[in-house]
């Protein structure tokens, strides 16, 4: 017997990841302006540095750009090669990461991520994702998503601001 088998579309998981990346795409720029922890890390990205977080081969992705002063923005310009590209090797790996069953560090350690770019920037970006997840998620869920949960200063205010940002249109990049 010979048959050709096409992979299943996994529409629900694809949609879920798209929504999660959209949420991160609004939360990270806001956090880069309001959270001291995030700003410490985002300052290391040079002006015009393009960051991509996505799913291989053609899954949903999140694109950000840095203003060089700590501000990160949704990159709405034409798609170009990212300076730092982090790709989950499969939709399932992305689903497990974004349903907080695996941490970003755990995913990398298990070989589920492929990363291209300067490692200090990759580490800074992972620390940014962790910091944003701590702000956005309830503590029990966030503890699953990060290596170690520590309460940031002014958590309630930060959380309210980040949730509010989800309802507002994304700020345009000045770069």
């Amino acid at each position: 017997m010979t048959v050709r088998i096409k992979p299943s579309a996994m529409r629900f998981k694809r949609l879920y990841i798209r929504i999660l990346l959209m949420v991160l795409g609004k939360a990270i720029p806001t956090a880069s302006r309001l959270s001291a922890a995030v700003r410490t890390e985002s300052r290391s990205f040079p002006r015009g540095c393009r960051i991509l977080l996505g799913v291989w081969p053609s899954g949903p992705d999140l694109r950000l750009v840095s203003d060089g002063e700590g501000g990160l923005y949704r990159d709405t310009g034409p798609k170009s090669e990212a300076d730092l590209a982090i790709r989950l090797k499969s939709l399932e790996a992305a689903f497990r990461l974004f349903t907080f069953r695996e941490s970003t560090a755990g995913s990398e350690a298990a070989g589920r991520l492929a990363a291209a770019g300067e490692l200090p920037l990759l580490l800074s970006f992972i620390r940014i994702i962790d910091a944003v997840e701590i702000i956005l998620l309830p503590k029990p869920l966030a503890k699953l998503a990060v290596k170690e949960w520590t309460r940031p200063v002014g958590l309630s205010g930060l959380r309210a601001s980040l949730y509010l940002s989800l309802a507002l249109p994304a700020k345009r990049s000045p770069v």
Partner: protein, 552 residues
């Protein structure tokens, strides 16, 4: 006695392991994969293949029974216990073979790695069977049963890659001629350093080459080689029309050779563009490693660390394709190594093994390799320093270093290496010396997160009886004390050269290489080091400074 450890290939395991395969096929340039299963297994095979997304949208051909493989097949997936079909040898475009067991019995009775990649998916294979497979594979490859006395832990997901054929023994350099002839290599490029030429080791290697070899030599690799040297060597390699790389030396030489392989394999003028993990395509340039120290394990790792002196950083490249095709571990080559170098490189191997056993990427395969490395180092390191002419100690340390390399390059290393790399970059401190000093301090820092794993190491570092008779809360601190004790013993054995504190790491002028004024730079460099992501405990600038102060 010559010992041979064949390559294992890559094992991808855990939850959603099958889904990950699509990416791995893409890296290997597979566009038209075909899958084979036994008659009767079609339904289960379809279930697996539906989960597999490949770069090409054409899907995957599934064949059962005796159908012929399509001529365009460039990747072969063997499902269940099906063997390699007879027509596979005729497939000129075949780039890789993959094995996906459908049940535990498909894993047993394998006499050799049957494919380049083995996918052990948790939906089909229980963790207990995965652990048993790891044990039987370790025994099969190394020729010895593991003494690891505890149940192996299987994480939610892991990958393990060991693609280098290892040859160990007292006079194995003579094997090189056969290996080169087998691979059709006639014009290799040999990379080494001046010290090894002066010590007569280069001459020894040249004698071992086939008489007809057209050899070109570069002996300019400095102790802390950088990417600019790699680019110059790539130009020479192309200009002189070489067909393979041979590296004779320690960590700097081997990493330079890996950088050269990367540059040639990607055709890239600037290798820094390839910094990162799991992004390199297959590198086709044959590379043979002949280590002269027992420590870095670079001969068996999928990691290349290349310095960027302009930015005071170590650039990290991680890919299974950075592993040499073969490595010769000849005990005679390390006989002239000064005791101090034996001691610090040995502690480097211990740091690799202990971090591999305790960091985030640990898995059954890396655990078994790390465990054996700790066993060997515990017995042989001090003796190798005291009796450098005794080949059994040197050989044991060479095996320990290689196993530790296999372990850490898959489970990765953590904070000891983050700070150690920074000390090397900023102060020029020898890597092994930094590892020796930092290891006990970082184990202590991480202890709350890794107490159980560290406790287990009491068995290879002391004995099982001590483990059984020591109360639980004192086992891990006991392990840290043993590591400190080993450092002190090595200091005595090396006439005071082996450091137990950072201030005791001295330059050639006798002055300390690490100064407190540099702590700020060391800290900021360490925070950008790739190893920190794999450390079991989160750490920041304050934690690094505290460890630097404590260990000074």
């Amino acid at each position: 006695v010559t010992r041979r450890i064949p390559p294992l290939g890559t094992v991808i395991g855990g939850t959603a392991a099958v889904e990950q395969l699509g990416y791995e096929l893409g890296l290997r340039g597979v566009c038209s994969p075909a899958a084979l299963c036994r008659v009767g297994d079609e339904r289960r095979a379809r279930g697996i293949l539906k989960r597999l997304h490949c770069e090409s949208s054409k899907g995957i051909i599934l064949l059962s029974g005796r159908e012929e493989l399509p001529p365009e097949t460039d990747g072969l997936i063997l499902l269940g216990g099906v063997g390699l079909p007879s027509g596979a040898q005729d497939l000129k475009r075949l780039r890789t073979t993959v094995r996906i067991p459908l049940e535990a019995s498909d894993l047993s009775g394998t006499s050799a790695p049957a494919a380049e990649i083995t996918v052990i998916d948790r939906s089909r294979i229980a963790d207990k069977s995965t652990a048993e497979f790891a044990r039987s594979t370790f025994a099969l490859l190394t020729g010895e049963e593991s003494n690891y006395p505890f149940p192996l832990r299987v994480p939610a997901a892991f990958s393990f890659s060991a693609d280098t054929a290892l040859v160990l023994g007292d006079e194995v350099l003579s094997e090189l001629a056969g290996i080169l002839r087998h691979d059709g290599v006639t014009a290799p490029f040999l990379i080494t350093d001046r010290g090894l030429r002066d010590a007569g080791l280069l001459e020894k290697l040249i004698e071992a080459l086939p008489a007809e070899t057209d050899l070109q030599i570069c002996d300019e690799v400095p102790p802390d080689s950088d990417y600019r040297l790699v680019m110059r060597l790539a130009e020479r390699f192309r200009g002189q029309k070489r067909d393979a790389i041979i590296a004779l030396g320690g960590g700097s030489v081997l990493d330079t050779a890996k950088g050269l392989m990367l540059s040639l394999g990607t055709g890239s003028d600037l290798i820094l563009e390839w910094e990162g993990s799991n992004i390199l395509p297959r590198l086709e340039v044959p590379f043979y490693a002949i280590p002269t120290t027992a420590g870095t394990g670079s001969e068996s790792t999928r990691v290349a660390v290349i310095s960027d002196h302009e930015r005071h950083r170590k650039r990290l490249f991680v890919s299974p394709f950075l592993q040499p095709r073969a490595a010769l571990l000849d005990s005679g080559l390390s006989a002239s190594l000064p005791p101090y170098l034996t001691s610090i490189t040995g502690m480097d191997a211990l740091a690799h093994a202990m971090e591999a056993f305790t960091c985030l990427g640990k898995n059954p395969f890396s655990d078994l390799a790390a465990w054996r490395a700790v066993e060997l180092i515990s017995v042989h390191l001090k003796q190798a320093v005291l009796e450098p002419r005794e080949s059994r100690h040197r050989l044991a340390m060479a095996l320990a270093s290689t196993l530790a390399g296999q372990a850490f390059s898959n489970s990765m290393v953590g904070m000891v290496h983050s700070i150690g790399h920074a000390l090397g970059s900023v102060c020029g401190a020898p890597h092994g010396a930094c590892m020796a000093v930092l290891l006990p301090h970082v184990l202590h820092f991480n202890l709350d997160f890794i107490a159980e794993n560290v406790s287990e190491l009491l068995v290879p570092l002391k004995d099982r009886e001590s483990y059984d008779t020591t109360i639980e809360s004192l086992r891990a601190p006991g392990v840290i004390s043993i590591v400190r004790g080993l450092n002190h013993a090595l200091r005595e054995a090396t006439g005071g050269r082996h450091p137990t504190r950072l201030r005791e790491i001295l330059g050639s002028d006798g002055d300390p290489l690490v100064r407190k004024e540099a702590f700020g730079d060391i800290t900021s460099t360490a925070l950008g080091d790739g190893s920190m992501i794999y450390n079991p405990r989160e750490f920041g600038a304050g934690d690094i400074l505290a460890i630097l102060e404590e260990s000074y």
